[in-house]
């Protein structure tokens, strides 16, 4: 069990031991860093490739189709074929484009998407750097995506791109606020900003004492996940790249490998957002019986599955509704949720705790729904003429 | 501290000078605003550098850096709002075209 649990950690250690036989101590540090970097740099794009396959397969099944099945068994080589296709495509740069920025934007967008992998705890002892501000690092670095998207949309000199860029900025900035606030309860409960500490704080009950099983944790989980879906521009918040409205938003003018980089950033952020949600509220790698990294992967992919399921089901919101949801509903509710988390830790007695927190959350969300009445659907009755 | 303190200070001086140059020379109001951001950052670099020396209460430098960042954000917000209002009325963001002292 322990062997399986620590298999990746131990193999890294073995490599380092092997290297230490003929390398100086300083070099060992570098080798260690390089191994971690290499693992992430390989894992990120690999995840992206297979998430595209996963999404196509899954949405296909939802739509009663098969999805990719021609290249390799179950179409498993499809991402590689796509990659080759992307590489051989013509790289188009619009005549009026700002060429340097147009080239830089997809490069810049991938960097933060890869960087955030470094604080994700993939399993017990399986985190590249255990920063004591890991969560904040994650949020800060993913905020850089905004700039990259802006660069791409501006440099394309395309009005659809520009509209997409404006929408992106509006959306990402708006959803960052409730997202940070939705993460606060987990930070409060674990008393640390480090992702590893947050996971460790959920280790009780044989690895099942996840934050999501508390009222505030449940609400926080939903809020954080929802904001995360918005942060990586997925349905129903795929307004920045709404293909039916503004063609493809900020990556309208990209082709070939640059386009693939945009996609890579998007899918890697899908993975990292799911991973972070699992870390914060679903107990990360905690869980009984299975190895820690298996638990982590199961939880993360379950959340990824839900994102793709959303994509297969839901239409998208309009810009103002999306902003309204962030500012008028999610933001107040996350603030109340922080309050509830505090109350949870300052009251004693399970009944009181549960009653108080569930009560406050229900009442406040009901009040918020009332305040947002203009956005609520109406009931319609239809007449029939003979 | 891996590098000598004076090197960081010189770096911040250069940053400050570049920022001031930008403020003096740029015609675009937005350009002036981002030059001001440079100046504020040079100050922040100093604050952090000194907080890592044993001159002060080490926390103080960082706390003040946070305040500076916050105030820079406020400044940028209000400044850019003014730029927008200005552009809407004057159709220009060049300082030497805005010389009437009235809207």
């Amino acid at each position: 069990m322990i062997f399986l649990d620590q298999i990746f950690v131990n193999s890294k250690k073995a490599i380092l031991n092997l290297a230490s036989a003929f390398l100086p101590t300083d070099a060992i540090l570098i080798v260690s860093a390089l191994i971690s970097i290499g693992a992430i740099a390989a894992f990120g794009p690999f995840t992206m490739m297979y998430l595209t396959w996963f999404e196509r397969k899954l949405v296909g099944r939802i739509q009663n189709r098969i999805g990719p099945n021609r290249v390799g068994i179950f179409g498993l080589l499809q991402p590689i074929a796509d990659g080759i296709k992307m590489l051989t495509k013509e790289d188009i740069v619009p005549a009026g484009a700002d060429k340097v920025v147009h080239f830089l934007a997809p490069v810049v967008v991938v960097i933060p998407a890869l960087l955030v992998f470094s604080v994700v705890p993939f399993g017990r002892n399986m985190v590249a750097i255990d920063l004591n501000i890991g969560l904040l690092f994650f949020l800060a670095v993913s905020a850089m995506t905004t700039i990259a998207i802006f660069m791409g949309s501006w440099a394309s000199r395309n009005k659809f791109s520009l509209l997409g860029g404006m929408r992106t900025v509006a959306q990402l900035v708006s959803y960052e606020v409730p997202m940070v606030l939705a993460a606060v309860p987990a930070i409060l409960a674990s008393g640390s900003l480090s992702t590893v500490d947050i996971v460790e704080a959920q280790g009780g009950w044989n690895g099942l004492k996840w934050f999501v099983f508390t009222p505030w944790g449940f609400v926080g989980f939903l809020m954080f996940y929802l904001c995360g879906v918005a942060e990586c521009n997925r349905t129903p918040f795929d307004i920045p790249e709404a293909e039916s409205e503004i063609v493809a938003g900020f990556h309208t003018e990209y082709s070939g490998m640059k386009f693939a980089l945009w996609y890579m950033a998007e899918f890697m952020s899908v993975f990292t957002i799911s991973a972070l949600t699992a870390t914060l509220y679903l107990g990360g790698y905690q869980g009984p019986w299975l190895p820690s990294w298996a638990w982590f992967m199961i939880k993360t992919y379950a959340l990824v599955f839900v994102m793709m399921w959303f994509r297969g089901t839901l239409p998208r919101l309009r810009v103002d509704q999306m902003m309204g949801l962030a500012w008028k509903f999610l933001l107040p509710l996350t603030l109340i949720n922080i309050l509830v988390t505090g109350l949870w830790y300052f009251t004693s007695g399970l009944g009181l705790r549960l009653g108080l927190s569930i009560g406050i959350l229900l009442v406040s969300s009901w009040v918020l729904v009332l305040f947002n009445r203009p956005y609520m659907p109406e009931k319609r009755v239809y007449e029939f003429a003979e | 501290m891996l590098i000598p303190l004076e090197h960081i200070l010189i770096f911040s001086t250069l940053l400050f000078a570049i920022g001031v140059y930008g403020v003096l020379v740029r015609r675009n109001v937005v350009g002036i605003l981002i030059s001001i951001e440079l100046i504020l950052n040079s100050v922040n670099v100093n604050l952090i550098a000194f907080s890592r020396s044993n001159a002060l209460d080490p926390v103080m430098g960082q706390v003040f850096a946070i305040f500076v960042i916050t105030l820079a954000a406020v400044g940028a917000t209000v400044g850019l709002a003014i730029v927008l209002a200005l552009y809407r009325i004057k159709r220009t963001v060049y300082t030497d075209e805005i010389n009437l002292l009235k809207w």
Binding site: R380, Y382, E386 | -
Partner: protein, 379 residues
């Protein structure tokens, strides 16, 4: 710079949506002026798919235009055939045998199902649902198109109706399959509605967006589900009672608000009515000839068919609205004047009124809810 007004727009943006845009339903262009995301002006520009349909028809035998009518609104070729056949039959005063009437109605109603179900699918695509509703819709549509292929030889370009009847009789056992489809259709509609009707996102996006008031609908001569969603009780099947519709029992659903959601719901309700009509027709369909023998004689020599001098206007309730064909004959094998009243085209005229003040995203779904097919708009 001096002459400009004091207050300038910081953010009006002129965008051309189309002609190569994923959701203009073809080669349609909307010249949109935006303030932020809000539309301040919208100019529809059409004609990219103009094929000179009317002129071609005026240089062709009457039958020769029949396959061209398929290509007007390529989603409902049967309805188009129906309209044209009615016009010519009026012009030449031709009786249609009973069985042919019934089959025509079956085809027209199946076409309505095909059209409405795919329009709703496209509308959802415009709303941003990633192809799921449209593929569910197409799953059902395929079944009906398979029937069309079996009956008429082609899935979409049916070219099935003939003046005075039909080209061929139904092949054996097709009626049973149609019955099966009609029986299964309400179940599919229930699933479809479960996926969509109560969906909060869809309601939020569609309700009170693109409201078409009753008066505007009447004065702009809007027809079809779009007019009925605004509460205009205008259904040619009821008014003209053409073919055997006056003998059939069905009701016309009417909306109150006239927004995108009402147009969506009216289509759903109309499909349920169509299923009802189909049930009645399938129960009562008689045996007999499928074409007027007088007209059957012209099958091998379409040029010999010369309607008497005169004019006629035949119209049907096509799924998109009132589809009318106006024909003037001068006694030659070719019509002297041939005009199509294309419902898509006329319904499109109110687009700007519906869109102003809404967001870009709304313009797209309003366009989607108008239900245009560019083949018909530009004919």
């Amino acid at each position: 710079m001096i002459d400009e007004p004091v207050l300038h727009d910081t953010d009006t943006l002129e965008v051309n949506l189309g002609p190569q845009h994923p959701s203009t339903h073809g080669v349609f262009r909307m010249n949109v002026k935006l303030e932020g995301e809000t539309i301040v002006s919208l100019k529809p520009i059409m004609g990219y798919l103009h094929r000179n349909h009317e002129q071609i028809a005026e240089n062709m035998s009457y039958l020769g235009s029949m396959p061209y009518t398929d290509r007007l609104d390529y989603f409902n070729s049967m309805s188009n055939n129906f309209g044209y056949a009615l016009a010519v039959e009026k012009l030449a005063n031709i009786e249609v045998p009973e069985r042919a009437q019934y089959i025509r109605v079956i085809m027209a109603e199946l076409t309505r199902l095909v059209n409405h179900v795919s329009v709703i699918g496209f509308l959802l695509n415009d709303l941003g649902a990633f192809f799921t509703p449209i593929l569910y819709a197409f799953r059902e549509r395929e079944k009906i198109l398979d029937i069309f292929e079996e009956i008429a030889g082609s899935r979409m370009m049916c070219n099935y109706l003939r003046f005075g009847g039909l080209k061929l009789d139904l092949p054996p056992s097709v009626l049973d399959r149609i019955k099966k489809i009609v029986q299964g259709f309400p179940k599919f509609l229930d699933e479809f509605e479960g996926l969509l009707t109560k969906n909060e996102i869809l309601c939020m996006r569609c309700q009170n967006v693109g409201i078409l008031p009753y008066d505007l609908a009447v004065s702009a001569s809007i027809t079809g589900p779009m007019a009925r969603a605004s509460g205009v009780n205008y259904d040619i099947r009821k008014i003209d009672g053409y073919s055997i519709y006056n003998r059939l029992k069905f009701r016309v659903p009417l909306g109150k608000v006239g927004d995108v959601y009402d147009r969506y719901m009216i289509r759903i309700l109309e499909m349920r009515q169509s299923v009802w009509i189909l049930e009645q027709v399938l129960k009562e369909i008689p045996e007999g000839p499928i074409i007027n023998p007088k007209m059957a004689a012209f099958a091998k020599a379409p040029r010999n068919f010369k309607p008497p001098k005169g004019e006629a206007y035949g119209r049907v309730e096509a799924p998109k609205g009132e589809l009318g064909f106006y024909l003037v004959s001068d006694g030659t094998p070719q019509p002297w004047r041939y005009h199509v009243r294309a419902p898509s085209f006329i319904n499109l005229t109110v687009l700007e009124d519906l869109c102003i003040g809404h967001k870009v995203a709304d313009a797209i779904i309003i366009l989607g809810s108008i239900d245009i097919v560019l083949g018909e708009v530009d004919h």
